[in-house]
Symmetry: C2
Subunit: 173 residues, 2 copies
Amino acid sequence: MSVWILRLGHRLPRDERVSTHCGLVSRALGADGIIFSGQRDKGLIESVERIVDKWGGNFKVKYEKNWGKLVKNFKNKGYFVVYLTMYGINLPEAIGEIRGKSNLLVIIGSQKVPGDVYDFCDIQVAVGNQPHSEIAALAVFLDRYFQGNEINKKFGGKVRIVPKRKGKEIKTN
Amino acid sequence: MSVWILRLGHRLPRDERVSTHCGLVSRALGADGIIFSGQRDKGLIESVERIVDKWGGNFKVKYEKNWGKLVKNFKNKGYFVVYLTMYGINLPEAIGEIRGKSNLLVIIGSQKVPGDVYDFCDIQVAVGNQPHSEIAALAVFLDRYFQGNEINKKFGGKVRIVPKRKGKEIKTN
């Protein structure tokens, strides 16, 4: 089972924070890695890698300029390609089919997404057919795909949180 | 049943997009309204209101400088106050208790959150105890709280999407 995320259309500086959120959500909610496309941004990749280094896990962060070629390579390896967009089939109607696939490439866009992304995907999926956020769509999609199990994943990092009803506690492993 | 979101610590210009995402996610995933605190940002409120006007629903958008007083007012009206933070009780362990409450105020922070927020909440809740995104945490929290029903909500806006496996279709109502 392998789930990769492809984040399209990254722009500097305006997408720095949103793309960082995409990377951290992908990691925290069980994906194996994220590939950024659009403008090359060393700082973005390093900021996600710093979290992996401190908080653990084997999450991978990559950059690829030619995303079309990348999607084709994933398809050739048998990955099912999901494009998250508000124009797609609503998640409750789509998730059954997708849970049957064990290797996924999940594409998320920014505001400037190439018009032909849907030519490359197997299915468009919406998390509600309303405008909101690619970060939110990715999070709910992963949570539904992994059926909630991803939230209990152990990362074995240098630090870990001791969950508390009130206040903060971090322990060093 | 009433669910409001309180977004703390908004800063101009760096939080503009992330706060907008918070507003749109709150609306799309079933909340009744959002209150922004931190720096006053007329453009932020208008951009969320423009979506409500076009896409429908009764979602409210407000600003409140004195968030502490606001939280106390909600508490006095019987609202249960949830603070989403990675330091909290993990969602699977917390959601049962919270589903028993019909009126919620859900607080989400930005990077600059006052240290004493937890004094104001009834419970801290984490969506996984890993660093990621307040947008993602909010989305998964609402999806779990509403048990997925929010994704099928009808908004009755001026426009609506015709869900498609590939391509885009918007209809005017």
